[in-house]
């Protein structure tokens, strides 16, 4: 659960110096504790995310530092410990997935446990194929299955060795959001039993909030921020993050009712009486969910609008108005605090003023449900 202090399962402290492609030096200097569950490693390309994963997996030797999984050191430059990747029991899913093209799905998944007795082995392969819903395609080759299926196969293959750590290097890029969510759900279900630390690398804004209980932000080879996603996103000092995350409005909410026929559900925004309608998600009544809304997706109206397709109208009061270059940032208190971005001309025609009553209009599908399941 959020807020609970969990024991650091993976402790990394490494420094790496490499010659960058431009001839300059790239330095990675990171100290990081990764508890069990998903931790997002977030940062722009070139920030050192993949380099860090390569060090943990043993594919790249850091100049100095220590890497320990639980009590077990896998790398220690001082003690000259450097376990080869084969003995680290660290699973790694590459961005390219690196499925073996000449092997079937089944053979790919079973690759990591070749030394196991045949019967036990095929039982384990079956278990993994089922957990990631790829049993139907077990006889096919990677070239004959879809991108989403390839990603599922890569996950199953990496987890069959019962690794102590799972590293994911943007494994779900290029997938449609729904598909992505269902794969991540399967991963969470798997990890509910295994409880291993999962480091999930991404540079995509949406994934940060949708996936993790924790996020670590890497920039120019250094950790610049770490914590739970909304705390980091709310901190205005982190300009790179706010931009990258793209969701200015994030709310804790509790599910009131599911209206499955309409594909929506009603939620009450935390600490308020404000109720809104959001798209149906993987949730049950009384579940806690998180709702994300982009400031640019919020409409403001001086009176309660009529004849509009949007389903959420909230009455509030303007708390602040600030012009940032060609954008007007309006903060509205309507049970919870909303931040809206509107154009200067819209601001003029609405005759906005601090303290003035205003209506906040939200389209149902502008409210993004981001999962916060306690795995």
């Amino acid at each position: 659960m959020a807020g609970e202090v969990s024991k650091a399962e993976l402790a990394v402290k490494v420094s790496v110096v490499r010659h960058g492609p431009g001839g300059g030096l790239f330095a990675l200097d990171v100290a990081l504790d990764v508890p069990s569950g998903i931790t997002i490693l977030f940062g722009p390309s070139g920030s050192g995310k993949s380099t860090l994963l390569d060090c943990i997996a043993g594919l790249l030797r850091p100049e100095a530092g220590t890497i320990a999984i639980g009590e077990d050191p896998v790398f220690d430059s001082g003690k000259r410990i450097d376990l080869p990747p084969q003995h680290r029991r660290v699973a790694y899913v590459f961005q390219s997935l690196a499925l073996f093209p000449k092997m079937t799905v089944e053979e790919n998944v079973g690759y990591g446990i070749a030394n196991m007795p045949k019967f036990e082995r095929s039982a384990r392969v079956c278990e993994l194929l089922r957990a990631f819903r790829v049993e139907e395609i077990r006889k096919r080759r990677p070239g004959e299955i879809s991108g989403g299926e390839q990603q599922r196969v890569a996950l199953a293959r990496s987890l069959i060795t019962l690794p102590r750590v799972l590293l994911l290097d943007e494994p779900l890029t290029g997938l449609e959001a729904g598909l992505k969510a269902s794969i991540v759900d399967d991963l969470r279900i798997w990890n509910a039993a295994q409880k291993i630390p999962i480091l999930y690398v991404t540079h995509s804004r949406g994934e940060v909030d949708a996936l993790g209980e924790r996020v670590v932000v890497l920039d120019h080879g250094r950790v610049i921020s770490e914590g739970v996603p909304h705390e980091i996103l709310d901190a205005p000092r982190r300009e790179t993050l706010a931009q990258a995350a793209g969701f200015e409005n994030l709310f804790d909410a509790r599910v009131l009712e599911l209206r499955e026929a309409d594909g929506v559900m009603g939620v009450r925004l935390a600490d308020s009486t404000t109720e809104i309608e959001v798209p149906l998600g993987y949730a049950a009544p009384n579940d806690r969910v998180r709702i994300a809304v982009r400031a640019g997706d919020i409409l403001l109206a001086s009176q309660r609008p009529v004849g509009l397709s949007a389903r959420n109208f909230l009455e509030g009061r303007i708390v602040s108005i600030k012009q940032v270059s060609r954008l007007v940032v309006v903060v509205v208190e309507a049970g919870v605090t909303f931040t809206a971005h509107i154009t200067p001309s819209a601001a003029r025609s609405l005759e906005l003023a601090i303290g003035k009553p205003i209506w906040v209009v939200l389209k149902t599908h502008s409210c993004h449900l981001v999962s916060d399941s306690p795995v």
Binding site: Q86, F100, G112
Partner: protein, 183 residues
């Protein structure tokens, strides 16, 4: 390793002959082990041919091993496979076109070898007389019809070899080393 590529076959054959002769190092060892010499025998011819054609096999092999995606090797290592298993299960299956190219090229190359074979083998009928040398013999004794029959066989064979190499390389999109341009 690349020396036999540029060395005139006769030179290579000469040194092989010296090495395999009764007073040469290789010849002595062979004599001690098997009770007969190595020069002017079929075995000696095979050894010389292996040395002579090896570079033609090694180059396409190395090129196709190297063209295997680095990430596949990393994936294999992370999944616990050692070097041998990675080679056997990942690299080899992906190098089939390269292996075919290597086999076919070195075979064809050996078939056509003349100078070295003549040196080491000594053109003994039924023992070390190869097709190439046989053609030469026929031409020398003005038996053009006989020479032509043999030449046609080699021509047809060479054409078949080319087809196999091209066929093997077409099925893969990866660039495999070949002495001919890709298109």
């Amino acid at each position: 390793m690349a020396l036999p590529l540029v060395l005139p076959p006769t030179v290579l054959g000469f040194y092989m002959l010296v090495a395999m002769g009764t007073r040469g190092p290789l010849g002595k060892i062979w004599q001690a082990a098997f009770g007969h010499g190595l020069a002017f025998t079929f075995t000696g011819l095979v050894i010389a041919s292996v040395l002579y054609s090896l570079p033609f096999a090694v180059q396409p092999l190395v090129a196709s091993f190297e063209s295997v995606d680095r990430k596949l090797l990393d994936a294999s290592a992370v999944l616990g496979a050692g070097t041998l298993r990675t080679f056997h299960r990942v690299i080899l299956p992906m190098s089939v076109p390269g292996i075919i190219t290597a086999l076919v090229l070195s075979f064809a190359h050996t078939l056509g070898e003349f100078g070295g074979v003549l040196m080491v083998g000594g053109n003994l009928a039924g023992v070390t007389r190869t097709v190439s040398i046989d053609i030469y013999d026929h031409v020398q004794s003005l038996q053009y019809a006989e020479a032509n029959r043999m030449a046609v066989i080699l021509l047809v064979f060479s054409f078949a070899v080319l087809s196999v190499v091209y066929g093997a390389n077409r099925r893969t999109r990866r660039r495999v080393w070949s002495p001919w341009p890709a298109r």
